[in-house]
Symmetry: C2
Subunit: 408 residues, 2 copies
Amino acid sequence: MTSTPTLPLGFRWSSATAGLKASGKPDVALAVADQPATAAAMFTSNQVVAAPVTVGRRHLAATGGKVSAVIVNAGNANCATGDPGIDAAHRTCVAVADAIGCVFDEIIPSSTGIIGVPLPVEKLIAAIPAAKAALGNTLRDAEAFATAILTTDTKLKTARASFTVEGKQVNLFGCAKGAGMIGPQLATTPPQAPHATMLSYIFTDLAACSEHLQAMLVIAVEPSFNSISIDGDMSTNDTVLLLASGASGVSATLEAAALFQTALNGLCASLAYQIIDDGEGVTHVVTLAITGTPTDADAKAIAKTIATSPLCKTAWSSADPNWGRLLAAAGRAGVAFDPTQVVVRVAGLPVFTYGVRDIAFDEAATHAAMSARDYTIAIDFGAGEGRSTFITCDLTHEYVSINADYST
Amino acid sequence: MTSTPTLPLGFRWSSATAGLKASGKPDVALAVADQPATAAAMFTSNQVVAAPVTVGRRHLAATGGKVSAVIVNAGNANCATGDPGIDAAHRTCVAVADAIGCVFDEIIPSSTGIIGVPLPVEKLIAAIPAAKAALGNTLRDAEAFATAILTTDTKLKTARASFTVEGKQVNLFGCAKGAGMIGPQLATTPPQAPHATMLSYIFTDLAACSEHLQAMLVIAVEPSFNSISIDGDMSTNDTVLLLASGASGVSATLEAAALFQTALNGLCASLAYQIIDDGEGVTHVVTLAITGTPTDADAKAIAKTIATSPLCKTAWSSADPNWGRLLAAAGRAGVAFDPTQVVVRVAGLPVFTYGVRDIAFDEAATHAAMSARDYTIAIDFGAGEGRSTFITCDLTHEYVSINADYST
């Protein structure tokens, strides 16, 4: 982590414009590995899953986690589109495979955008030659990839990390998109059926097998992508894909794996934070630090209930230290607790202690602290060692405007 | 049900002004039974429970379901107020008991309003003599009671029903309050700890024992109060109280109980509907008719997830037939299903059929149907006999304004 991050070796990136976004901006992102990369992936645990997730799962299973390219389109989620949707994802992979010279199941497709509307696959396929021609390995190319996957996002979301083992540098580059329909719960096992909106692609030049990458990805995703919520609406297309080229010449030995895990954890945390920070209509980023529950799962259940409570989220929009709403939400999370053991602190200030308003509660000071863009609400339940740190945001007029105006 | 509803005999109602509401409107409601009534009650299943709920439970247990009076205050929920909150609720009951001449545990207290702020109990007690002096048995008196319990409600919520058995008329009168923090899940068994915002009081002159009333109340509450949501935020004070004076002279024989159950079901359904219809910022009342799941609980789980999805609720605010959001929400409800078996109809119009957009989908017609104040979204999962009919509403700028501006 002391080395200067550079881009991972062994990959090229590009974008193109297929005309799927109403804005006319680039809407196709292509990443190609010079040699087939090893891969790990986690997908939405929604019962309704988009066609590209279904196809991506099949391809990873068929190849044992070998990926030559990723093709992403924004503007249409290719979800709830039936068998024609599966065909469209498949044809897209075949077209990319033909263009770069590999077998079709080494291609992972992703889509994000409107759900339930047929994907204009001809437009997407027609853009592939331009995307191939634009491939490059500079930061500008990687950022072109990261830009084309955006939908309602207002900011580019990227993160880089590097570390050195025995004089050789290992690099990571990750990007993500997502500003609404953000309530991910990524899993390795497929659900009954699929859709999606949070997408993240992470590239590294570490050499590691697919199984090892998968184990490390699961560890990194739980406290990052799986511990954030904008609106609690889990998407049908949520995907995190990790590709390793091996081009650094560094293998995942015990030491390298430990350094990589740390770098990956930090990179995922950064991308997850960026998603909340750019959430639709967000004016406050709120970190919920839940402690003192019997288990970590209990703490997360409480955090998720508070993070999706309209009353808590609207209170945050006006910097209102409304502990009653926090307690009421916690109390319906399905976790037993004793309110007389609960302590609530907002930005470090005492608010509610052992069942009553704290004697030192200072409304003006607390309101002022909550006027900050970013602060922590710490709630301790005094009943165990369980904990969860969960990042969420307020609910504003702007969120309603964005989502009431978004049209089918 | 062919008789004209009149008020149940054996009760008197009134209101008074204690100065707990910032508006200065009546904020104390008193109902007194001429002779101790038999009672049934259901309370919030929140882990955090308001002091009056704790005290009310104790009193019902101590008396075996005998109630002489109900005292309700609006403007302060007396919740998260610790032992002083319990003392305040107890002192209120003692003061009412002294005023009307009964023992204190025949009094049921209720509170609604801000959570976490000490109840100004002296003000409440000082208003009891005026409330007692105003007691009467006219519709105007009953409506004074029903008005004083309101907080952010914009409309009075009452319902009446009557039926005749062997020439004798049995009457029911019910009222309710609640416009936000509405996601009730009432239960008969106490949770670990308590708070509340949906309140309903139902009076009848049927003669029935407490156990029988309780059984009938549970049946009536599940499809009514327990199948509605405005914001999914279950309150800490939710209470439904049913009091039976016996003054009609009609006992709960098989025939009378059957007629009473039917009348009670209809009355609870009416009050539950009125709550959603008057929900904070509501412009559309949406009935979710979920069918074809393995169990009724599965159907309700899906209905609740859709009813609390910010993306679904904002789409409804703009009459957007966004089936993708419906499917994505259903898919995260924890119920396994096959999307290719799903059929969605909006106001009877075909939208999504067996995994794809219906070929007869007419966007303009569906949008027009969703512009109505009130319509039904029917979703069939084709996998069983489970069903749930759940009433909810859209999420609007006005909801955000009301709850961002509501101050601690």
